[in-house]
Each structure stands twice: as C-alpha cells, then as structure tokens.
C-alpha cells in the first residue's frame, strides 16, 4: 500500500510536469497553429540557465529567471523562425523548423554544460520530508504542486479577464476577425508563443529540482505532453492539464505492478481514448478533423 502511494505520488509529480509542458504546447498549438517540437528545448534552456544563475540570484531568483530566459528565447525564435512561416498554410514547416531547433538546443546544451547530469540545489527549507511514514512527501514536492496550481490559475485568470487574454482566446477561434477588429495579430502571436515557452521554462526549473539536469530532459518530457494534449482534448487548456495528471498518475501506478510498462501505458491510454472518444476528454467536436 505504501509502495502504491509512493509511486502514485511520484506519478502525480511527473504528471504536473507533463501538465505544465502541455499547457504551453496547447497555447502555441491553438494560436500559433504550430506543434512546437522545440518545447523540450525551451524547458532545457530554462532549467540550465536557472542552474547557472542560481549562485548569483539564489534559488528564488533562479526560479523566476529561468522561465523568463525561456520566454526571451521563445520571443526571439518566434520573430526569426516561426513568423516567416505563417503565410505557408501547411503546418509541416513549423513542425520541421522547431524539430531542427530542438536538435540544435539539445546538442549545444551538451557542449556547454556537458552530457553528464547535474544536480540542482534546492533550499533546505523545502527539502525536508514532512512526515516520517510518508518520506516521499517532501516540502519541495508539495511546493512544485503549489507553484503549478498558482501558475495555471494565473494563466486562466489572465485568459479570462485581461484584454490580452481575451484577444488570445478570440484569436484561437477566428484570427481573421480579430485582425479585422484592429488587433495586431503578429504581436499577439509573438506574446502567446513567449508565454507558452515561459511555461516550458517553469517546468524545467521545477523538474530540475527533482530529476536533476540532463541535456535530454526536455525531449523525454515532450512526448508525454503530446499525449496529455491528445488525451485531454485538443483546444482545451483544462483538458491538457487533466490529461497530464491522468497519464502521470497512470504511469506511477503501473510502476508498482509492472514497471516495464510504465512508459507504454501512457500511449495505451491514448489509444483507448482515441478509440472511445476521438476528440479527447474535454476537446471540442470537429476541431482539427
């Protein structure tokens, strides 16, 4: 029983990272009409820059700086590489260019910081277990969950109540009309891409504290995030979060009984969802079909 709880909780933490990644991916998917294969790259950039800056800024400063760095890189990438491709209707090209970018980022990370994993120090305040029976319930893990809840709540409030958020939501429905109403959609898409990358960076810093830093940490989190979006339903941000948590939890529980299948189970869940409910749990009907 304790083992089950332990693994389930581990899975839930993993699911939190999937959910954060999937949120950013889903934002970019809906407004920039792009599958961002480099999303794992932005995660890695956020994590490694936080690691590098932590000696100067401290943990808390790095926690803010990492996501901001990922966002800055995202803004540059959107402006230079993604924007020229909007006029080519085919999503193939954004897919390929971000794919190439993902290779470049992973390889350069390996060159600059080395292929070996690096530890990311977290403050002692957060690191102590809260209970001796449930040793896995460290403060840091709860902190990760709390930050994720705060960040996603902030995102939803922003999308609901601010002018930028309303425009982003309107743009995912009908970009042409939004443009006709005088909104600068290039700026809108730029900001949206940066926002998505910021979430990747946040996931990176938080994950670094638990999993440590490796150049391939991004690409290993990327695929499950796709699955989270598919399971949750394309076009629904809540769905992406839900999907991420579900597959993380399922992977954790599977670890208890049949560890070899803990990765494959994620994809099996996706297959089942695709058969039973093709548009995903919370997806809108007819979108992307």
């Amino acid at each position: 029983m304790e083992l089950l709880l332990f693994n389930a909780f581990n899975g839930l933490i993993q699911g939190v990272f999937y959910a954060l990644m999937a949120l950013g991916l889903a934002l970019i998917l809906s407004l920039n009409s792009a599958i961002n294969m480099a999303h794992g790259g932005f995660l890695v950039v956020g994590a490694y820059l936080a690691y590098t800056l932590a000696p100067y800024l401290g943990f808390w400063g790095a926690l803010v700086a990492g996501p901001l760095c990922a966002m800055m890189l995202g803004l540059v990438v959107e402006r230079l590489l993604i924007r020229p491709l909007y006029k080519r209707q085919d999503p193939l090209y954004t897919l390929l260019i971000t794919f190439g970018l993902a290779l470049v980022i992973e390889d350069l990370t390996r060159t600059f910081w080395g292929a070996q994993g690096l530890p990311f120090a977290i403050p002692d305040v957060l690191n102590s277990p809260l209970s001796s029976t449930y040793f896995f319930l460290t403060g840091y893990r709860l902190f990760v969950v709390a930050i994720t809840i705060v960040a996603s709540a902030a995102l939803f409030l922003m999308l609901r109540y601010t002018r930028l958020g309303v425009r982003i939501r309107a743009g995912t429905r009908d970009l042409e009309t939004v443009a006709a109403l005088g909104v600068n959609i290039y700026l809108l898409r730029l900001l949206n891409f940066g926002l998505g990358c910021m979430f990747a960076g946040l996931a990176g810093v938080l994950a670094a504290g638990i999993l440590g830093l490796t150049p391939s940490m991004g690409s290993s989190l990327l695929m499950p995030s796709f699955v989270a979006i598919i399971v949750g339903g394309v076009g629904s941000l809540w769905g992406s979060v839900l999907g991420g948590l579900i597959i993380g939890l399922a992977a954790g529980i599977t670890t208890t009984y049949y560890p070899a299948a803990s990765e494959a189970v994620i994809y099996l869940i996706m297959l089942i969802v695709l058969v039973v409910r093709p548009r995903g749990l919370l997806g809108q009907e007819g979108l992307f079909e």
């Binding site: 599958i35 190439g100 290779l103 470049v104 350069l108 299948a261 695709l274």
Partner: protein
Amino acid sequence: MRRVALLIAFWVVLLAAPWWLPLVGGYTALGSKILIYGLAAMGLNLVLGYTGGLSFGQAAYFGLGAYGAGMTLKYLVPSTPLAILVGTLVGGAAATLVGPLLMRRRGIYFAMITIAIGQLFYFVAVRWNVATGGEDGLAGFERQPLHFGTHTVSLHETTAYYYLVLACFTAAVALMWWLLKSPLGHTWVAIRESQRRAQFLGLKTDRYVWASFAIAGFVTALAGALNALLFNFTSPEDLHWILSGNFVIMVVLGGMRNFWGPLLGATLFIVAQDYLSSVTDNWMTCIGLLFIMIVLLFPKGLLGMVARRARAA
C-alpha cells in the same frame, strides 16, 4: 524518349554503384543505406506528398520492420527472404491497424497522433528486454545465403547484399509508380488538393487515406527489414521520433511533389550525416541547422525548384 534514356542511365548508375562508389570516396554499404533510406522516404511520400497526411511517426514502421526481420532470423528460421517478408508484414500490419485511428484527422492532429503512436512501439522495443535486447539493441543474427534450387548465393559480401537491396528497391519503386499512375494514386492527389471536394464527389476519403498510410507502412517496413540485415543489428534508435523527423526532412529536401525527390533528399542527407559525424562532434547541431535552412530557403525541395525553373523557361 528522353525520359526513357534518363531512366536507363539512372538504373545503369545504380547497377554500377559498387564499382564507382569507392572511386568517389564512398563504400558499398553506404550505397545500400542510401537505397534503403531512399525507399523509406519514398514510401513516406505516398502519405506526405501525395495524400497530404502529415505522418511524423514513420520510423515506427521502419523499426518494426527491422525488429521483425531480426527476430525472425534470431528466433524462428535462418532464412533471409522469410525474414524480410516477416519484417515487412509486421510493420505494414501495424500501420494498417493504426490507420483507422487517424484517417479522419488532418493537419496538425494527424501529425501529433502519428508521433505519439510511434513512441508506443519505441517503448515496447526498449522495455521488452528479453526479446528485443532493450536499449542495447538486437544483435546476434546474420543474413543467410539465398538458395535457388541447388544453387546457393552467399550474401556475406556487402556487394552481393547491395544487389538484393537494389532488387527489393526496384520492385517496391515499380509498385509505387504503378499505384500512383492508377486511379488510386489520382484519388490520393485529389484528397491532398481538396478533401472536401473529393468527398462531394462521393469518394470515401477516409478509406483512401487509410490505404495510403497502410501502403506507406509496408514500404517503410520493407526498408527497415533491409536495414536490419545490412548491419546485422537494429536498435531502438530505428524507432525513435528523431528518425521520423529525418525521414520527413529527406522528403522535403528532395521535393515532396516529385516521385524521385525523396531518393535525392535521402542521398544528400545520408551523405551529409556520414560526413558530418566524421568531422565534428556537434554534427547534431549541423543537422538541426540544415533543417532550419531547408525550411526557410528550399520549402519546395531541390527537384521542386528545378521543375519550377523548367516551367518558367
């Protein structure tokens, strides 16, 4: 007339490859590898270029073909033709089963599902240690001599194996050419140009997309099986989404709208990869930059540009 001459010249060049490849600094196994990856890319192009489905998980069927062939040789029968056949059938059957899940979807969604499903097979190969060798890959099998009645042909030499690859390549390419000239091929193009219009004409577009995906799966799996026998080895890398991306860039680099484009793209890509990985540790960065340059500068591919210039002249 000119086309026939070109085609004959092309095949003479391929047949003579074991002689001229070493003269330009290549080697025969590189020639086999180019034909194999070219075949996989041409198979992918049935979906990507001709039907307009963004298949981004083609490596899964390549890898299944490779594991199918390797495991047949290792555990079942020591027969090269049977291994190739089983590999092709395994990969193709998997694509056929997956097809219905994505035949109704288009664009981004099609791409996401193909990528994600590919990962399922990847993790099976990595985790099913006992049978697949896990992360280390599957080794311990060897391509066997061919028997024609009393006559035996050893495939041990890379040159002999090159001709087997060339024979399979020729057969698969002829089949694809014939399919694309048939009403089926024209229907695929019609779906690519406008799925809705094709539906209004009463075509059940789902089924044609399915057929396209399944046939592409069989062709890619054949290439994968040949690849496993070329190196007498296969690893989870052969199923990874990085390889899927490489296949797509081969197709785009050569020209998606062109029958021979993917072969040209595969040739350039394999040669570039072979060369770059021997001169720099950061060859992945170079390949990534190559991706970016191709998308920004040659979106229509090399043969696409040639065709456009010819039309303009």
